[in-house]
């Protein structure tokens, strides 16, 4: 195991955790070891955030959860936010890895993929589709779709018949209205506009 991946640097306001590029499991192990060594000291400390050379946002969140729930350590909210914004999200929504599924997705089933998802079939109520990129359904979606799960607000959800229980893009959630609504009868595309999930009919000439 390579040592020296994790270091703590104190400034007047508190402590930053610096993480060098390396294997994530090694980073986890080293962080845990260092925390365990002087847990009492760190419990009193004010953590400002994590600065990592090359970690994905999901990995940083895993580190934060580890600190918070296993060691009950406090991390300042500002530090967290600051880092979330600079961390990378999946950008392959124009051109990227895509998973194709040829079947009906039923209640209780979850399809998760670190890229785009295309479903050739229906998505029934109670099913959940989670993609880092776009979600395209060549059928009816009545379940829940979450595109851009790691933060890409430009991700879209498109379906031949779009009537989901809930639509999520990045961290924005839109839900089906309570009263029955008429669908346009043509394929529709959902995207974020002005901080809300917006559904528009698919018009080929636009």
């Amino acid at each position: 195991m390579k040592e020296g991946l994790v270091s703590f640097k104190g400034i007047k306001e508190g402590i930053y955790i610096y993480i060098k590029d390396g294997d994530f499991q090694d980073i986890l192990d080293e962080l845990e070891e260092k925390l365990k060594d002087s847990l009492d000291f760190y419990k009193e400390a004010n953590f400002l955030g994590i600065k990592a050379e090359n970690l994905k946002q999901s990995q940083i969140i895993e580190l934060l959860y580890l600190m918070k729930y296993r060691y009950d350590l406090h991390i300042a909210n500002e530090g967290l936010l600051e880092h979330m914004e600079i961390s990378e999200y999946y950008t392959g929504i124009k051109e990227g890895m895509t998973k194709f599924i040829h079947s009906t997705i039923r209640s209780g089933q979850v399809i998760e993929y670190d890229g785009n998802i295309v479903i050739i079939g229906d998505v029934n109520p109670g099913a959940l589709i989670k993609a880092k990129g776009n979600i395209i359904i060549l059928g009816t979606i009545r379940g829940v779709a979450h595109a851009g799960i790691d933060g890409n607000k430009d991700a879209i959800v498109a379906a031949y018949d779009l009537r989901p229980t809930q639509l999520r893009i990045a961290n924005i959630i839109g839900r089906k209205p309570d009263e029955e609504t008429l669908t346009s009868g043509i394929p529709e595309v959902a995207k974020i506009k002005d901080g809300e999930v917006y559904i528009e009919p698919y018009l080929p000439n636009k």
């Binding site: 209780g108 109670g126 959940l128 229980t165 809930q166 959630i173 309570d178």
Partner: protein, 264 residues
């Protein structure tokens, strides 16, 4: 400190979820702070019956695993103040929660709500054990069928073994015309076998099917007989003395008069 009530039956399809939704809503309409909890992980329905499916972001598993705070997991009802839903997870199974976690959760809820109504899954396995873990009282739902009554009897025994004594009985889906013809068990027969206190009787009613599909519990309506039945149940839970519902609504005024004359 609130009271936790589990609604259970052993057998599936007798109306646990419908009863939970209606009792929860009914108690909230009467001014109580209520949370209905769905413990049927993997086959959740309570959210659909309450018409709140489209609001679910977190669920009971997220709450016990502390992925989210309890407050974030609770869904505020769209119509009634003081009514909340804690939905089950759909993509996990019953083993996602342990009875100890359930007990802790219910105790937390009791600090904030007057009534915690817990919808139990069918069966007597882990899901059932979870659902009764934090309960102070139990209401048994049965229908006038031998199989349902048999299962209810089994569940009453299990509840007693788990320290939940004197459960109360709700007999659902009674068809008075069939009872009259002698084709269906009557209320007395069932109470006789199960030997527990009767909390209420609910007639078989089309209005239930309609309201369930709409996601608006029937108890909030004025006219249906089933709504009256659930209102009565709620008032009895609050300690009022309410007579059992007269299910013979189809009777004409004339025959009622004759009956009255002859009964004197």
């Amino acid at each position: 400190m609130g009271k936790a009530i589990v609604i259970t039956s052993g057998k599936g399809g007798v109306g646990k979820t419908t009863a939970t939704a209606n009792i929860g809503t009914g108690l909230a309409v009467l001014g109580n702070k209520v949370v209905v909890v769905d413990t049927d992980i993997g086959l959740r329905n309570l959210d659909v019956v309450m018409g709140l499916e489209n609001r679910i972001v977190y669920d009971i598993v997220d709450v016990v695993e502390k992925t989210c705070r309890l407050k974030q997991g609770l869904i505020r009802d769209k119509r009634y103040e003081g009514l909340f839903l804690l939905p089950a997870a759909q993509t996990k199974d019953k083993t996602a929660i342990k009875p100890e976690q359930m007990l802790e959760l219910v105790n937390q809820l009791k600090e904030e709500f007057d009534y915690i109504i817990i919808d139990s899954p069918a069966g007597i396995e882990q899901g059932f054990q979870n659902s009764i873990a934090g309960a102070d009282e139990a209401y048994i739902v049965t229908t006038p069928e031998i199989a349902a009554v048999r299962d209810a009897d089994r569940v009453i025994g299990l509840l007693e073994a788990n320290g939940i004594n004197s459960p109360k009985l709700i007999i659902n889906r009674i068809r008075q015309d069939m009872v009259k013809r002698g084709d269906m068990m009557n209320v007395e027969d069932i109470v006789d076998i199960l030997a527990i206190e009767l909390l209420g009787i609910v007639p078989d009613d089309e209005a239930i099917v309609i309201s369930t599909n709409k996601g608006e519990p029937v108890v909030a309506e004025d006219n249906p007989l089933s709504a009256k039945a659930f209102k009565n149940i709620c008032r009895r839970i609050l300690g009022e003395e309410v007579d059992l519902l007269n299910l013979e609504n189809d009777e004409g005024k004339f025959s009622k008069l004759i009956k009255l004359l002859f009964s004197k």
